[in-house]
Every structure is written in structure tokens, then in C-alpha cells.
């Protein structure tokens, strides 16, 4: 039983990390209806840029991170201007494809600038079991994961404030609810989209830093995005709480499945389990946990 909880907690904590990546997706999908496949590349881009700045210019991480933030904001607006604006009113799948193109571009660009070597990122948070918990319960809980979860919570809180308390946030919500309505009240749509992409870029940076310090900053970060998909399916493409809950569900269930079911079927089921879970979930709730039910009128 203790082992079960250990697995569960580990799962939930990695779920937090998934949620963080999924959050970027949700932001963009909510505001512009774009299924941003490039979110993974943005994570890689952000993390590598931060580390690159730090190492190549011998900057402190606390200088490199704000600099990267600026880069991500510029990138967000640039994407809106160069990629999205000309594609406005195009079919969803076209925009989706464009973000795949963007993925390639960003991957190429960032590796061209900083090289393709794997880099170490040390945020100064040791990734070791928390002693106290270990000794009290015998359970192993990673200190890093707990802190990451904390950062994630702060992030969500900041986003919530941004969304609910600021003028930009209101504009964002208006856009998310109804593009036409937003236009008619005089909000420049492009402006809002630029902001959303910039915010998503910052979220990507946070995710990139956390994942990067966990696994090293490298190309594989782009794959993190794939894990975010089942999270989105379960949480719904448009829901911020959904992304969090979805992340937790996916994280916990995939770990439990791998540990308790995996050995019976040869293991390695983590790769597909979240998807199959999401699929089964979809059959029950096609619009996701928090997604809005679409009433189709004819």
C-alpha cells in the first residue's frame, strides 16, 4: 500500500509537469483556436535560450531568465504577426499544420544559434528525496517535484490573476468566448493573440526550465508536448483547471499502469497508456472533463 501511494504521489507530481506544458496549449487554443503543436518546440527554444545565454555569456541564471522572457515575448508577437495573421480565417487544420512548420523552424533556429549539445541546467533545486518524508513514512517524494509543483501553482495563480483581474485578461476572455463579439467591442484581435502567444512563451519557459533541469536541456524537450495531448483531451482544450486536473490524472494513471500493469504485458506501456486512457475517456465524455459541450444546431 505504501508503494502504491509512493507511485501515486510520484505520478501526481510528474502530472504537474505535464500540466505545465498543457497550460501553454490551452492558453493559445482558448484565445485563438489554434492547436499549437509548436508548444514543445517553444519549451525547447525557451530552455535552450536561457541556458545558452547563461553559459555562452557567463550570465547569472537570474539575468538569463528575464532576458529569455523578453525573447519569448518578442517571439510570441512575431509568430502572431508572421504566421498567424496571414492565416486568419483559415481552416483549423491549416493553422495546426502551420504550427508544425513553426516547430521545425524553431528547432532549427535554436539549435543553429546554440548548438545541439545537451546542456546541464541547474536551478539549484536538488532532485533528491525529501528526508523528512522519507524518514517519517518511508515514502520517497522528490524535493524537486514538490518545488516544481509549487512553481506550477504560482504560475496558475498568476495566470488566473492575469485572466480575471487585468484589462488584458478581460480582453483575452472576450476573445476566447466569441471572436466576433470581441471584435465588435473594439478589441484588436491581433494584439490579443500576440499577447497570448507571448504568455504561452513564458509558460513554455517555465516548463522548459523545470523539465530542463530535470532531464538536461536538449532536443527531447520537444517531445514533452506529446505527453501534453492526452492531458488536454481529458482536461478539455479550453480549460485551465482542466489542464491541471488532466495532468494529474495522466501523471498518476500512467505511473500506476506502468508499475502495476506493465510487468504483466511486457512493460513500456507508458508510451501509449495515456492515449488509450484519453481515448476511453473521450468515448464517455467527447468534450473532455472541463470542455464546453458543443451543441450542434442545424
Amino acid at each position: 500500500m505504501q508503494f502504491f501511494f509512493e507511485v501515486l504521489i510520484a505520478g501526481l507530481l510528474s502530472g504537474v509537469m505535464y500540466a505545465l506544458v498543457a497550460l501553454g496549449f490551452v492558453l493559445i487554443f482558448k484565445a485563438s483556436g489554434v492547436f499549437n503543436f509548436a508548444q514543445g518546440a517553444m519549451v525547447f527554444f525557451a530552455a535552450l535560450t536561457a541556458v545558452g545565454l547563461k553559459e555562452e555569456f557567463n550570465l547569472s541564471l537570474w539575468v538569463a531568465i528575464p532576458l529569455t522572457m523578453v525573447v519569448m515575448i518578442v517571439l510570441g508577437f512575431a509568430i502572431e504577426r508572421i504566421v498567424l495573421r496571414p492565416l486568419v480565417n483559415q481552416h483549423d487544420i491549416t493553422l495546426f499544420m502551420a504550427t508544425i512548420g513553426l516547430t521545425f523552424f524553431l528547432e532549427g533556429l535554436v539549435q543553429l544559434i546554440w548548438g545541439s549539445t545537451v546542456r546541464k541546467l541547474d536551478l539549484g533545486i536538488p532532485d533528491v528525496p525529501i528526508e523528512v518524508v522519507m524518514s517519517k513514512t518511508g515514502m520517497l517524494v522528490s524535493q524537486f517535484d514538490v518545488i516544481a509543483a509549487g512553481i506550477c501553482a504560482v504560475m496558475v495563480a498568476l495566470l488566473a490573476i492575469l485572466f480575471n483581474k487585468t484589462k488584458i485578461g478581460r480582453a483575452l476572455r472576450a476573445v476566447a468566448d466569441d471572436h466576433q463579439a470581441a471584435l465588435s467591442v473594439g478589441i484588436p484581435l491581433q494584439h490579443v493573440w500576440g499577447i497570448v502567444w507571448a504568455v504561452a512563451g513564458i509558460v513554455a519557459l517555465v516548463a522548459g526550465l523545470l523539465w530542463g533541469s530535470r532531464n538536461g536541456v536538449q532536443f527531447a524537450l520537444t517531445f514533452v508536448a506529446l505527453k501534453a495531448l492526452p492531458v488536454l483531451i481529458i482536461g478539455g482544450f479550453t480549460s485551465v483547471p482542466g489542464a491541471i486536473v488532466g495532468g494529474l490524472i495522466i501523471g498518476a494513471s500512467e505511473k500506476l499502469a506502468e508499475v502495476f500493469i506493465g510487468p504483466y504485458v511486457g512493460g513500456g506501456i507508458e508510451g501509449w497508456f495515456p492515449y488509450v486512457l484519453a481515448l476511453l475517456f473521450l468515448l464517455v465524455r467527447p468534450e473532455g472533463l472541463f470542455g464546453e459541450k458543443i451543441i450542434r444546431r442545424i
Binding site: 508503494f3 545541439s116 522519507m134 532531464n215 536538449q218
Partner: protein, 439 residues
């Protein structure tokens, strides 16, 4: 400015002239296609390995070539993707007088070109990967898993673990986890590990990690649960660093981990940071510095022709592996020249013979400035590996250090038997009559 891009561009500008000459090879140059990958998931490995090979080519050329025959090469980006690799192979195989040999450094690509080699009469080396049974030159006349194959490595690993335990017989009852990349690569050592499990009586627990291996919490929880004596880490790419870090967070001692040689490079340990300290892996190079590497620093990098953008990587595991590979290729070509005519450009067929008759003993290693950099190697038609010896290295937090002073070998007899069986099966499937090709 330390930007890689700028550096690359300056290098490019300086190297432009030489590149042009190398691409416009004359008939007096021995052409070697480079199926490299410098982008994507495995870019770190690709750039190091092929960087090393090219550095060595430049060194050979700077020293006047092979009996006066200069080496020319052309790179083609495969992105570690089988079909792109095949395209590169096909594109370059006839170029500049024909490819001497190929080395795709990727299992998928190696499989993709496997059937084409005998037809095109181009030998392929698969140094430290690919089909282990290709060591049988009677069935795979054009494939050279030089130095050592996965099976020999696995046998070597068990040997090492046995040594650590104080003798192979002490392994009885021990738990060994095989944590592997869930692909052909990770499953390649199964037959050896299973066979040895039977004979030695240890308990083998196989735990797969799904590609690409960025999440290994559950695997390590399982490992913790199983509480094994050793963990064999059979990983590739990002999986390695994650494994090391996850081991650390789960409090599993790195000293009990033994990685495959694709899990034993600076690119695997540096991102893991302190967690990697004490982590051991297999290797077929002895880490350290060698005269040949100094020569490369001086003659190649000194002349601005170095291939690595980051000079810190000179002499790194992948770089050294690239140098080793290139060294053995050149040896093969040299052998061929000795037989078919010095100072001539060799055909793939002739080089195949050359590779089949490599004999790099300690004396030759010294001549090459690479004494003990890799095991001595002597190939033959029956044995395209030529060695089978491995070494163990440990990461001390800054660099790799050899653990075992001597080259170790596992149960070679058993492996050879398995090679014979497996290659016979392949021969039957492909309707090949095993035979040694005449010189």
C-alpha cells in the same frame, strides 16, 4: 562573442576553400560518404562521432593521405531517420568514384541499407551497434560490427558485474535489472542476458522505457521495489541522463548502475549534473588523452579545419569513437592498398577485403598514436568484429575514467555460438549460402 553560429560561420568562411576542394574530389581521392546526423534527438552523438571521423580524415590528409591518396568525403544529414538515411546512402554511394564504405551510426539506417550492400559492393561498419550476428562474415560479407557487438558487450557486462561481485559464481541469486530503451536496440542483448541468466543463476528483471525516455519515475519506482543488486542501463539519447537523475532522486546508488556504451558519454552525464557521479558504463575506448588527439588539436584545429564547434568536446567519448572508427577505416583501406596496389584508389570490394583483414596490434596502435585507445583488433572472414573486448569507465563528476585497467571479455564462445545460429537463420531466410568472399 561565443555564439556557436558566429563561430560556425567564421569556420565556414575559412574552410570554404578546403570544403570546395574536398567536394570536388579528383580520381586520386578516396571517397567516404558521411551519413551523419547533427539535428534532432541524437544530434549530440552524431556531431561528436562524425566530428571525430572528419577530424581524423583531415589529419590523414594533412599527413599526406594514405600512401598519397587523399581522403574526400561528403556529409548528408540523415536526422537518424531510416528513409532519409537510405536516401543519403543512395545519393552518395556512386559519387566521386564511388563510396569506399559507409557508417550510418543508426540501427534503422543500417537495416535499411543492409540488403543493398552486397549489390553495391560497399562495406558497412556498424561500430558498437546493429546486428550482433553480422559478425559472421560468411553470411554478412559486407557488414563489419568492428571491435565489438552488443552481444559481446552484454557478456562483458555480466563478466564485469561478476568481477565486482567477486567472481561469476557469486552472481547466483543476485538481482540484475535490465533497464532498456524499448526498441530493437534495447532488446538486442536479451539472448545473451537470458542465456547467462540460465547458466549463472542470477535473476534478470527486464524493464522497458518507452521512447524517448523522458519520464522514468515508474521504472525507477519498480526498481526500488525490486531492490536489485545491479541495474544495467541500456539507453540511448535523453533516456540516459533521465535515468541517472531519476536514480538519484530515488536514492539508487549510481555505482550499482552499469550503462551500455551508448549511455556513457559526456552528453549523458553532464546534463545529469552531480547525480552522475560514480555512474559506470561500458566502453570500447579507454578514456584519456592520446598522441593522435594531440596531433588533431595541433594539425587540424590549429589549421582551423576542426569539425567540432566546441573545442571542449575534443577527446570526448563520441569524438574519440569517431576517431577510432576513422582510424580503422583507414587501416582497412591501407590493407587493401597493400594487397591491390599502393597509392591507388580502392574500390568498395577491395576495402571490404581490407576491413576483413585488419590487424591492429599494440605495435600498430602505438604507430597510430592510439595505444590502448581501443582494444587490439584482428578481423577475419569468420569474425568481422575482430575483438569483442570492452572496458568499464566511471564518471567522476568531471570526466570519464577507466575502471578496469585491462580489456575484458565475456563468454566469447557462447556469443560466437549464438552468432552462428542467428546468422544461419538469417541466411536461411534470405537464401544465402554462407561463404567467405575471395580476396
Amino acid at each position: 562573442m561565443k555564439l556557436k553560429l558566429l563561430k560556425a560561420l567564421t569556420v565556414a568562411a575559412v574552410a570554404a576553400a578546403s570544403t570546395v576542394t574536398s567536394t570536388l574530389a579528383t580520381a586520386q581521392e578516396q571517397f567516404i560518404p558521411i551519413l551523419s546526423y547533427r539535428v534532432g534527438l541524437y544530434a549530440a552523438g552524431g556531431s561528436g562521432f562524425f566530428g571525430g571521423a572528419i577530424d581524423y580524415f583531415n589529419l590523414v590528409n594533412a599527413n599526406g593521405g594514405i600512401n598519397g591518396v587523399k581522403i574526400s568525403w561528403e556529409e548528408c544529414e540523415t536526422e537518424y531517420n531510416a528513409s532519409r538515411g537510405v536516401e543519403c546512402y543512395e545519393r552518395l554511394k556512386k559519387k566521386n568514384g564511388g563510396a569506399s564504405l559507409v557508417e550510418p551510426l543508426g540501427t534503422g539506417i543500417a537495416y535499411g541499407v543492409l540488403d543493398r550492400l552486397p549489390v553495391d559492393k560497399i562495406p558497412m561498419t556498424t561500430m558498437g551497434y546493429g546486428r550482433s550476428d553480422a559478425a559472421n562474415g560468411q553470411v554478412f560479407p559486407y557488414v563489419f560490427p568492428l571491435i565489438t557487438s552488443y552481444w559481446n558487450q552484454a557478456a562483458g557486462m555480466i563478466k564485469h558485474l561478476g568481477d565486482k561481485a567477486g567472481g561469476l559464481d557469486k552472481l547466483k541469486g543476485k538481482k540484475i535489472v535490465h533497464l532498456y530503451h524499448d526498441s530493437a536496440f534495447g532488446k538486442e542483448p536479451f539472448p545473451v542476458l537470458e542465456a547467462l541468466e540460465k547458466s549463472l543463476g542470477y535473476q534478470l528483471i527486464k524493464i522497458p522505457v518507452a521512447h524517448p525516455g523522458t519520464e522514468q519515475n515508474s521504472q525507477w519506482l519498480q526498481i526500488r521495489q525490486a531492490n536489485p543488486d545491479y541495474v544495467i542501463l541500456w539507453g540511448w539519447g535523453v533516456m540516459n541522463a533521465v535515468a541517472i537523475k531519476t536514480a538519484a532522486r530515488n536514492g539508487f546508488p549510481r555505482e550499482k548502475m552499469l550503462g551500455v556504451w551508448w549511455a556513457g558519454s559526456e552528453e549523458d552525464t553532464i546534463p545529469a549534473g552531480d547525480a552522475a557521479k560514480g555512474y559506470t558504463t561500458m566502453t570500447f575506448n579507454t578514456p584519456g588523452n592520446y598522441p593522435v588527439i594531440d596531433e588533431i588539436r595541433k594539425k587540424v584545429y590549429g589549421a582551423g579545419k576542426g569539425n567540432l564547434a566546441d573545442k571542449d568536446r575534443i577527446g570526448s567519448v563520441y569524438h574519440m569513437r569517431g576517431i577510432t572508427a576513422a582510424m580503422l577505416w583507414i587501416e582497412g583501406i591501407r590493407n587493401a592498398q597493400n594487397k591491390y596496389g599502393k597509392g591507388k584508389v580502392m574500390t568498395g570490394e577491395q576495402i571490404r577485403w581490407g576491413l576483413e583483414n585488419i590487424n591492429v596490434d599494440e605495435k600498430r596502435q602505438r604507430e597510430l598514436g592510439a595505444f590502448n585507445m581501443f582494444p587490439t583488433i584482428k578481423t577475419s572472414c569468420q569474425d568481422h568484429e575482430g575483438s569483442g573486448a570492452v572496458k568499464v569507465q566511471v564518471w567522476d563528476g568531471k570526466a570519464w575514467k577507466a575502471v578496469t585497467p585491462n580489456w575484458i571479455q565475456g563468454d566469447r564462445a557462447m556469443v560466437q555460438k549464438m552468432v552462428a545460429e542467428s546468422s544461419a537463420k538469417y541466411a536461411a531466410e534470405k537464401k544465402i549460402t554462407p561463404a567467405c568472399l575471395p580476396g
